[in-house]
């Protein structure tokens, strides 16, 4: 009886109005930025620049799609940047080692690409198991692996860079540099991952369960949802996304170093939050996340093209944006 009046909603009208505005917020922000970019620099609105921005967005965007699931489920993964770096290093070493064994550079590259995805899934599985069966906070688990992943890469690279053999690099480079119908290959993959993410989130039982767990884990558990399995799958899904992003990223430079993927976790989480997903979980959108990711790389692109704010402050600007967005979301839940 002590809980009755509190059951009633405090104000059901307000969130609806805000909700409508809120969904459009990131899109409006992106449009305003594009207008600003066009006005500031004639090169901004060119086809080449747009494709350049989208290609750069692809890595973070693909990771952000996976991150979106994790955040909606009420979790977090701070390790994605380090994970990408370790996967990149491992894949390069694997390709270099396998090329002579398999006798076919092409096979080595293909096997390496598969390995990237498998490694991502395995790392995600480890996260998921530690978080669910080990009952450790996701923040702590992934903070730990953030350090572990990067330290192992630094160890493998001896503090320097791990570089892909030239022959392999030539075979692999189209994965990053090739076009299809004038659109770079990574952008196509980004689009496919985002579409798949949207469908999984909104049109499968798994996606519904992810939202249910993030909204209220207890209720989901009582409602016969296998909370542990769903959470583990969610971290694996993110791991797979990191794997895909990495296999697109490796041919760009053909090497991995201790600075590979630095601050990617900030950008991926920022993309999700800027896209309107609340860090507490429960609800969120893939479309918003995609828009958020593009918005962040447009910001950095504008910084590159103009001299209003130093490029060195890129991460600072992203930091301000995420805090500002969180400030506007405050009180929504």
């Amino acid at each position: 009886m002590q809980q009755e009046p509190a059951d009633t909603p405090r104000s059901p009208r307000l969130p609806v109005r805000w909700g409508a505005l809120h969904g459009l917020g990131p899109v409006i922000g992106l449009l305003l930025l594009c207008v600003a970019g066009t006005l500031l620099n004639g090169n901004f609105a060119t086809y080449d620049n747009i494709m350049n921005v989208l290609t750069r967005t692809a890595f973070i965007g693909i990771i952000a799609v996976g991150m979106c699931f994790v955040i909606i489920s009420g979790g977090i993964d701070l390790s994605v940047g380090s994970m990408a770096a370790l996967i990149a290093g491992s894949v390069i070493m694997f390709m270099n080692a396998m090329a002579p064994v398999l006798g076919s550079p092409l096979m080595a590259v293909a096997a390496g690409m598969v390995l990237a995805v498998v490694l991502g899934a395995v790392f995600g599985l480890a996260h998921g198991l530690l978080i669910t069966k080990g009952r450790i906070e996701p923040f702590i688990v992934t903070l730990g692996t953030l350090g572990i992943f990067r330290a192992y890469l630094t160890y493998f690279s001896n503090g320097g860079a791990i570089t892909l053999d030239n022959e392999l690099s030539d075979i692999y480079s189209p994965v990053y540099y090739a076009n299809l119908l004038g659109v770079p290959f990574p952008v196509w993959v980004f689009v496919l991952v985002a579409l798949a993410g949207g469908i999984i989130l909104n049109r499968t039982a798994y996606g519904r369960y992810v939202q249910a767990i993030g909204s209220n884990e207890q209720v989901a558990h009582y409602a016969a949802v296998d909370v542990h399995r769903i959470k583990i799958l969610t971290y694996m899904l993110l791991g797979v996304c990191v794997g895909i992003a990495t296999l697109l990223y490796v041919p760009r430079l053909g090497s991995a170093s201790p600075t590979t993927g630095l601050l990617w976790e900030l950008e991926a989480i920022a993309a999700v939050i800027v896209g309107g997903t609340v860090l507490k979980g429960g609800a969120g959108s893939i479309t918003g996340t995609v828009v958020g990711a593009i918005l962040l790389s447009v910001i950095s692109n504008i910084l590159n093209l103009t001299s209003i704010i130093s490029v060195y402050l890129n991460a600072a600007v992203q930091g301000f944006v995420i805090i500002a967005v969180a400030f506007m979301q405050r009180g929504k839940r």
């Binding site: 009755e4 009046p5 059951d7 009633t8 909603p9 059901p12 558990h221 009582y222 016969a224 949802v225």
Partner: protein, 494 residues
């Protein structure tokens, strides 16, 4: 030493829902008032306003003739008004003395004056008759002692008006007696006490006046001797109790669909055995903490069980989690609607289909099919909502509860366990829920109802199992079902 209280046309709204419809009420100092009302009648809200936890939407609250608007419980406490919560507001890891002075620490200069606080705490404990070292950690106390600490804390802050919300719900009869003696001595000192309870016999014994609320309004205020218990109950419900329940059906004779033997949930339930037949409504009675909810959480695999055998539809089964249970045809409606029952930030459709989502995913979810199911459920369960696209939070308590019922029945279980199915719903919704429960039984479901409202169990069930301190003591047949009988078994006075 005393305080006079007056509410004038008190109105409270939570969003669009009005829970107090202009309550006017004056209380004289130094009396014990019994405050009665069904769940959701608004008595808790009224008391929270008095104690500063909620603010009035409209109207006035006068304390000693001065209009007051408390912005927090602390301001009310400064005037001597203290609410003792049903779930205590004690910091378990602090000592009794620390708790008593929490937020009001006595200091000497910059430093805490522990010696003085200890002395004062000991004095307050003596006043409530608790012989215990004030340095004891609250965690180590039993429930009755915690309650006395709460009262001692109120006294240490010079409480002149004490609000007690169901203070005896977790007490043994002996402890209850001691509480009543304490209340009488506080009254003699001029303290006003507002006593909220469902136990009408206690209200009859201890109070000077009875105030009855219903649906956010004051419906009666009488000197206690002027009312019989039956009259009190009728005033609370607003009609003859008999009208509330559908006529009972004959007890079914079929083979039990669920048979539980010797189920033990460590710390909560010991060797509980019961069975339920298709078409039967089996009640579970007991005091708060008797282990009823925990027994069923153990059965569903939410809590660890150390022993016991469960047979469902003639097959022995092991349930590791609610998912197993739902697959095999056993679902559970939690007593904690917001915390465990419904996703209040989810749409109605998503809530309804969550437990049977596989049916809608092949492999893609079919929103159209889900919407049809929602439409059907809204009609079947009488869920009143303006739109089908709102969140569950937008529904009133009663309609949320009907949605929660629809949700646990959506997987089409053979056995359904309803834990406090009418908690926090108004009287009209209660009646509808009772009718629904009976329809379920009529359709051949085995229904288990856990309830703290004895009238509900008596009015609805074919048989009632009574639990006390984790043991299932006996199962009473329809003919033996009376309030006295149930209380006697639940409290161990028989």
């Amino acid at each position: 030493m005393s305080v006079a209280i007056e509410f004038r046309e008190a109105v409270k709204e939570f969003g669009p829902v009005r829970v107090l419809h202009g309550v006017s009420l004056a209380l004289q100092p130094g009396r014990i008032y019994g405050l009665l009302g069904e769940n959701g009648a608004g008595k808790s809200t009224l008391m929270k306003i008095l104690a500063g936890y909620e603010a009035l939407t409209e109207g006035d609250l006068l304390v000693d003739g001065t209009s007051r608007r408390f912005s927090g419980s602390r301001q009310a406490e400064d005037l001597g008004i203290v609410l003792i919560h049903q779930e205590f507001n004690l910091a378990e890891d602090l000592t009794i003395a620390q708790n008593i002075f929490l937020g009001h620490e006595l200091k000497r200069g910059f430093f805490l004056d522990d010696a003085l606080m200890r002395r004062e705490a000991r004095k307050a404990l003596a006043q409530v008759g608790l012989q215990i070292d004030p340095d004891t950690r609250v965690r180590q106390l039993i429930v009755a002692e915690k309650q006395l600490v709460e009262i001692a804390r109120a006294l240490a802050r010079n409480a002149r008006l004490l609000i007690m919300d169901e203070p005896t719900a977790t007490l043994t009869p002996g402890e209850t007696e001691r509480l009543f003696e304490l209340m009488a001595s506080l009254k003699a000192l001029g303290t006003t006490i507002i006593y909220i309870s469902h136990k009408l016999d206690e209200v009859e014994r201890t109070t000077d006046e009875v105030i009855v609320m219903r649906d956010g309004k004051l419906v009666a205020r009488e000197p206690t001797p002027a009312l019989t218990r039956h009259e009190m109950a009728n005033l609370m419900v607003g009609r003859e109790l008999a009208d509330l329940f559908p006529p009972k059906l004959a007890a079914p004779q079929a083979v039990p669909v669920l048979r539980v033997t010797g189920l033990t949930v460590p710390g909560w339930a010991t060797e509980a055995s019961f069975e339920v037949r298709p078409g039967e409504i089996l009640g579970f009675a007991g005091l708060v903490g008797a282990g009823r909810t925990e027994l069923f959480e153990g059965l569903l695999g939410i809590r660890e069980c150390s022993a016991g055998k469960v047979e469902l539809k003639g097959r022995e089964i092991t349930l590791r989690n609610p998912r197993d249970a739902a697959r095999l045809g056993l679902t559970y409606l939690s007593e904690d609607r917001k915390g465990k029952g419904l996703h209040v930030n989810f749409g109605l459709r998503q809530n309804l289909t969550l437990m049977a989502l596989e049916r809608y995913a092949r492999p893609w979810l079919k929103p159209k099919a889900e919407r049809d199911a929602l439409q059907q459920a809204v009609a079947d369960y009488g869920i009143r909502t303006g739109s089908l696209e709102v969140n569950a939070a937008a529904l009133s308590g009663g309609n949320q509860q009907k949605l929660a019922l629809a949700k646990v029945l959506h997987p089409e279980p053979a056995v359904v366990v309803l834990d406090e199915p009418t908690r926090g719903v108004d009287i009209g919704a209660k009646r509808e829920i009772y009718a629904l429960i009976q329809q379920l039984a009529l359709r051949g479901l085995a229904v288990i109802v856990i309830s703290s409202e004895l009238m509900e169990l008596i009015g609805l069930c074919h048989r009632v199992a009574v639990m006390r301190a984790g043991r299932l003591l006996c199962t009473l047949q329809d003919a033996q079902l009376t309030e006295e009988e149930l209380i006697a078994h639940a409290t161990g006075t028989r």
